[in-house]
Subunit: 328 residues, 2 copies
C-alpha cells in the first residue's frame, strides 16, 4: 500500500514535493491544499484534487503524511502545531534560532493528538545538521565550519529590493576559496564573517534612480551587508531575467579534528552539495523523511522529531536485509 | 556514571580505542584483554589491568561495552558472536560480502543473551555506508561512486609480500582525478576498475632478486593488480622505513542525481575523508557508536545493529535539547 501524501501550499516547495512523490515508488499524492481559490491553482498531476485549506479536516483519515510547504517566517510557526493535531506532518522550518520554541509547540500538539511530526527538514537545517552531528561525534577535539553558496539568498535579495530606487535585485552568497583552503588545512582558523563569504548583488534600478546612492546604501546596510565584502552590479531587466532566474545553491560542512596520544594526527571530514535547484533538493529530503515519519508512526511513535532522531535506514524503501547486502 | 569500556586485542585498533576513550568525557577504560601473555603487553593508560582473554568471563558485570579489535578475516567471525553472549559488543567487521552472514550469527547470539551488538563500524563500512544511505534516499534517480585513497591497502601490500624475492612492500590505492572530475559533472559515467583507481607499489627486494620478474608478477596478478594501471618502484629498506610508515588514508563518496518534472536539474552530493591515521579515525567512529550502543541497551534494545539503524543523536553526549539549540 502506498504512503498517501498531502501537500499544503503550492509554491516552489509544493511543486517540488509533487515531483518527488511522482518519482517515489512507495508514495501517491492524494490532495493539494491551498489558501487560494482552488480553481486558480493548476497542478501537474492528473486526477489529484486541489482543495481549499478550509476543508482540510475532511481529509483526516485519507492522508498519511501532510507536507507543509509554507514559509518559516509566519506560516510554519502557526501551521505545523495546528495541523499536527489532525495529521502526521513534516516541515522545513529553517529559522535556526527559533527551532527550540517551534519544536516545543509542535511536540506538544503531536503528543496530545498521537501524531508524528518531523520539523526542520531540508539541507540546512537538515542534511548539514546530520553532517555536523556525525562529524562532532567522531572528532570531538576539533572545529566545524559551514559555508553556503554559491547561491541566491532570498532574505538578502529582499533587503535590497526594499531600497528606494531598486526595481529588482538578486544577491548571491559566495564562499571565499581562501577560507575554504585554510579550513581544509586543519589549522582551525578564526574566520570573521567577512573572511568566510562574499556577497555579490545584481540590481535593476528604477528610471532615474541614483546608482551611487543605492550602491552605498547596500554596502553599508547593517547585519545584511556592512560586515561583508559586497560587490554590486547594475544590470537591465532583460539581463536579470536571462541570467539570474536560476535557483541553484549549495554549500560545505567541514570539520577538522585531531586524534592520537599526542594529538599528532589530523583528519578532515568534508560534505558538500552542489544543487541546480534549491527547492527541489529540499523537497527530495522532505520526501525521504516523510517515508521515515510513516514508518515511525506505524511503530507507534508520537511527538516531534528532527533529522537527528531518525536512523538513515528509515529513509529508504529497502529492507534492512537488502541494505546490509548491497549498501552497507 | 561513566560508560565502562573493555578492549579485546591491543594492536593498532586497540591502541586507537584507548586514546579515543581517554578523550571521551563520558567513558572510562576498565580492562584490556589479550590472547598474548598479559605481562608482555604494556598499555599507555595507568591503573588499567591487562587481562588474559581466558579470564574475560569474570568481567561480565564490570563492562558496559566490549570493543572487539580483531581482524575481519578470522578473528571477528568467531569473536563477535561468541562475546555477544556475554557482553554488549561492537566491531569493525569490514568484509562487505560477508556482512549478511556475520549479522545473522551476531544477531542470534545477541538476541538470545539479551545484549546489543553493533557491527561493521568504521569508515567503509561505516561512515561511507551512512553517506550512501542518505544520498540514495534523497536522490533516488542517480548513481553513486565510492573512491578510496590515497592510502595503503593492507591486503594488496600483503599480496606483494608473498611474491618470491620481495622483502617488504607497501601498496597505495589512488583515486584517478579524471574519474572524480567526470563523476562530479553528473554524467553518471560508466567507469571500469582501471578508470577509477591507480595502484602504486613500493617494493624492497631480497638480495639477488630479479626486479623485472617481480614487477611482472605484481602487474599481472589476477584480482589484485591485473585490472589496474599499476606503478612499481623499487626502494631500499631505509627508504621504506623513512617514507612509507604512515597510516594515512581517505576517500570519496559521491552521488549525483536528477530531479524536476523533466529531470532538468542535476545535484551533486559529495562526502570526503582525509585521514592522517586510518586506525585512529576508525576507532573514533567505533567509540561514538559504543556510546549509541550503551544508550540502546539502556532503552532495552537487543540484537545486532549497524550504522544504518542508529540515529545520529545517539552518537553524541549532548541532550536532544542542546542539539536542537546549537547543532541542528
Amino acid at each position: 500500500m502506498s504512503i498517501r501524501i498531502g501537500i499544503l501550499g503550492y509554491g516552489n516547495l509544493g511543486r517540488g514535493i509533487e515531483v518527488a512523490v511522482r518519482d517515489a515508488e512507495d508514495m501517491e499524492l492524494v490532495a493539494v491544499f491551498t489558501r487560494r481559490n482552488p480553481d486558480s491553482v493548476k497542478i501537474r498531476t492528473g486526477n489529484v484534487p486541489v482543495v481549499s485549506v478550509q476543508e482540510i479536516d475532511e481529509w483526516k483519515d485519507k492522508i498519511d503524511i501532510l507536507v507543509l510547504c509554507g514559509g518559516s517566517a509566519t506560516d510554519l510557526p502557526e501551521q505545523t502545531p495546528k495541523y499536527a493535531t489532525m495529521f502526521n506532518v513534516i516541515d522545513s522550518f529553517d529559522t535556526h534560532a527559533r527551532i527550540p520554541e517551534h519544536f516545543a509547540a509542535v511536540n506538544e500538539a503531536a503528543n496530545k493528538s498521537g501524531h508524528i511530526a518531523v520539523i526542520s527538514v531540508g539541507w540546512d537545517p537538515g542534511m548539514f545538521s546530520v553532517q555536523r552531528a556525525y562529524a562532532n561525534a567522531i572528532l570531538p577535539d576539533g572545529g566545524d565550519y559551514t559555508f553556503w553558496g554559491k547561491g541566491v539568498s532570498q532574505g538578502h535579495s529582499d533587503a535590497i529590493r526594499r531600497i528606494k530606487g531598486v526595481k529588482d535585485a538578486r544577491q548571491y552568497t559566495i564562499p571565499k576559496e581562501d577560507a575554504l583552503k585554510k579550513v581544509r588545512e586543519g589549522s582551525l582558523p578564526d574566520l570573521s564573517t567577512r573572511d568566510k563569504h562574499l556577497r555579490e548583488c545584481y540590481v535593476v534600478l528604477e528610471d532615474g534612480a541614483d546608482a551611487a546612492a543605492v550602491e552605498n546604501e547596500i554596502k553599508t546596510m547593517p547585519n545584511y551587508f556592512a560586515d561583508y565584502d559586497t560587490i554590486v552590479h547594475f544590470i537591465s531587466e532583460e539581463e536579470m531575467k536571462r541570467d539570474h532566474s536560476g535557483l541553484a545553491h549549495g554549500g560545505f560542512v567541514i570539520r577538522t579534528g585531531k586524534t592520537g596520544f599526542d594529538k599528532e594526527h589530523n583528519h578532515v571530514i568534508e560534505y558538500s552539495l552542489k544543487l541546480d535547484s534549491n527547492p527541489e533538493f529540499t523537497t527530495s529530503v522532505l520526501i525521504a523523511y516523510a517515508r521515515a515519519a510513516y514508518r515511525m508512526k506505524n511503530e507507534g511513535q508520537t511527538g516531534c522529531k528532527t533529522v537527528l532522531d531518525i536512523p538513515p535506514a528509515y529513509l529508504l524503501t529497502q529492507s534492512g536485509e537488502e541494505l546490509r547486502a548491497h549498501l552497507l
